[in-house]
Symmetry: D2
Subunit: 280 residues, 4 copies
């Protein structure tokens, strides 16, 4: 069991009335217990907590008038050490998958599995079905892409990345997801925090559905899988953007933190700004 | 109130064990009452009915050994005449939309609203917000696209269509959805049947979220909106493919029907094959 | 030395005054001697022969009023058996290539070598420079693509093909050209005829520049390289379309022939329509 | 008649033996007389001047060992004031265009006129043929794109720009070229210098072929057409990249100048590095 502190500070110059949708708070899951969490906004505004979809995602919605806006999020989670899947874990058959999992076989905005399925079958169709096949996909992605900040942008898709062979964490995850779906393995994007990521930033990884449950993978190898903290899941990054703005505002600073908790008795300092404790 | 008979017959040559996921049965909604429905498979196999997601979609899953497979679906629905929205219907504000609606602002596989939002704002940003703006988008799509069977394929996206200016019903819907999302109006794809469509085929149209509810639009103008029968909704056509195959099978024939019900007392003939009455 | 008969018959329904640009006549090159050639048009119109560019391409331009148009082309060429390059042939260095060859390193409409160069280097960067590297590229293309008529269209590019893994001769050539350019080998598209191609059709292949001269390759392996007859060369298929129309006309039939000449004394039958003997 | 001083300074950190192909020297044309020009390289290497193609392009090729490389180019040209075309100038007919012009109707890497011709015809097909139609295309491009440094990269095409509605000079030119070709007007890219461009940089504009000659257009309106100095022409930017590197080198600085010549008696200072006076 690991205890992890995560959080972020975001500043915006809001120029017109703007609606913000934030997806930055740690999720509550069977493997991730939220010990405490605090979402603070300065100046004080009403914070609406919106659960989204059926996978436990939630977002914070605020409406802000022109101002200098500061968002601070802090939380501590306890991760139940996820035992690495035995290499004998197989794949679920399409005839047995729960209906809600079937959706994760569909192509999505950044994961055009319809375009890449022939490629996926050619490269990974001969590998025995199961955990080791997803592992092979991750190894392939890691070996064939160069990690390079700024090499891609918010419109870059898995097909683009497969050609360019360059990207960031989100692109690594998108390509691996697409190749999994391409060979018939449901896969979904996970947005989150990663312990000791260098440089500190939000992180993107993915889950594949094998033998009746979801398993976590990070093809970037930038952080140990055991130190990944979930914010939310979706078909791809389009569903779990950490901030969506409707209005006119300029981000002026961003910092992210995720570290092993030094002490087991964790207390969150409170400040005067309004806050919502999102213990889900 | 209109009573409509819909249905389809599909034949496949199944060459290896194949999992079929069908989305061809009429949905049950407040505006669409399912009077009776019958999904028949020959040869007889177990038919699993899988509800998918939160919008009432469902699919039929069957596993079939090599054979000549025949699927027949027949249903009768009663449509509550949807009163055309008054032209004064406005748009919902992002600060007020229910959380589950926000998802339909995200870009998706065939609706790259992130790519086209600048275009959308330029063309439709000045039009007063509301029903008339969506109407204007539909008129623009109808005026700028040529309807041409076979001009596009299953990988064609809204951005492709905007450039090519040619497509089929699915492409019309994708482009209109994308332009709606581009200016901040949630929009989703609807797969269904259309009364008296020529030539008869499955149809694709869309819904936009305005003033707290979903309104139906068909930018092809090929069928009256009052004669559209819903199968399911999704972000785009990727979510509501009428048949998804995992295995090896060849479609050998397809026919679709949708006509005004001649008599109000409708009886469905039964045959010897196994059937599931999907009255949801 | 081989003697080959080539030709084609094309019919069009011309609906408005239309300018046709044909590139169907066999080229005259050091390795390909044009014994005789006849380009016939019915009804009779003035045929303008236009040399294009610096590589010996030429096209026939005609202006046609509404009519049923028939084009017939017949030619006999003598191919100097191109001795297979010794496997020791190396690559030219960019510091030594003639200036007119450098152009064939640039990306072009259907050969986005800028997009694929990372992929090309990764796959083929380690192979010793020279003839065997181009051979390896051809083998890779042949092994990874499925030949399938109708799988692609006139807008399909090398990047599309690399993802889809399916195409026709033109796509095979485009992908091989793109991979060659990607690793720094100038490459160009060749449109032509191929002896005994099944089914008979125009053919597309390519040339790579090695050790100071151009070598011919056909990654489809559908016809022996020694039986390939050149019409013209270009950066890609955009430059050597067999027919370009400006106006309104519908192609109603097309047949192509290319066979080993049975007799060495070849005579071309003449007919009453106007004809241009294009012996270059 | 205007006298213009142009030039640039480029620095590279060369890490392995690298072949450089530069296209930075002013062209000699009927409308642009090269008074004097000097291409200097430090350290001294052999400079090969390579004429490319049939339009008077030339490039400087050098081979450089690891070093700190400095390139300096200075030239003075005299522009014969190009009288604005009378608005009555019409278009050449495809039946009359010289053969070498026909090539500029073909789609190219960054100008997919095949993809956009339907769009082009729809927007500009009704406008009377001629100079005013190209002017209308330029106005449309200028009105619908936002000029934004860094918004696009070296792989961005006209189709991308048409969707994104954002770009730099090269993108403006690519889109205008593509729309011209789309309606049947030959168009080609021109790389060059522009007097008093802010901030100073290389510039990209284009020429359209009308009534038997090429006319210059700059859809960015960032510089007067009368102050544009040509380096070279091509199908698009792929043909006239100012620097192409084969090897490993890092650009460390770049500055560009283009100003009205203060004095009519122009002298170029010489330095100790080897130089080639490229008076063509």
């Amino acid at each position: 069991m690991r205890r992890i502190d995560v959080g972020c500070d975001l500043s915006y110059q809001v120029r017109q009335t703007t609606v913000f949708l934030f997806q930055i708070s740690a999720a509550q899951t069977p493997h991730q217990r939220l010990i405490c969490g605090q979402f603070s906004v300065n100046p004080v505004v009403y914070i609406e907590i919106c659960p989204i979809g059926m996978e436990g995602n939630q977002l914070q919605r605020i409406v802000v008038e022109p101002c200098e806006l500061q968002i601070a999020y802090r939380a501590t989670v306890e991760l139940t050490p996820e035992v690495e899947a035995p290499t004998t874990v197989g794949e679920s058959d399409a005839s047995q998958m729960p209906a809600e999992v079937l959706t994760y076989l569909n192509p999505s905005r950044y994961c055009e599995s319809d375009l890449l399925s022939k490629f996926a079958f050619e490269e990974f169709g001969m590998i025995p079905r199961g955990f080791l096949r997803v592992k092979a996909i991750c190894e392939w992605v890691n070996a064939h892409l160069d990690y390079s900040s700024g090499s891609t942008n918010s419109t870059t898709t898995a097909a683009d990345v497969l050609l360019q062979r360059t990207g960031v964490c989100r692109d690594y995850a998108h390509l691996a997801i697409t190749l999994c779906r391409g060979v018939g393995i449901p896969a979904r994007y996970v947005a989150g925090y990663a312990v000791d990521l260098q440089p500190p930033d939000f992180h993107g990884f993915f889950e594949a559905y094998l033998d009746g449950q979801w398993y976590l993978f990070d093809p970037t190898k930038l952080a140990p899988v055991g130190g990944l903290v979930r914010i939310g899941v979706g078909r791809d990054a389009a569903d779990v953007s950490f901030a969506t703005l409707i209005g006119v505002a300029l981000m002026t600073s961003q910092s992210v933190l995720a570290t092993e908790s030094a002490i087991s008795d964790h207390t969150v300092s409170t400040d005067n700004s309004q806050s919502a404790v999102s213990t889900a």
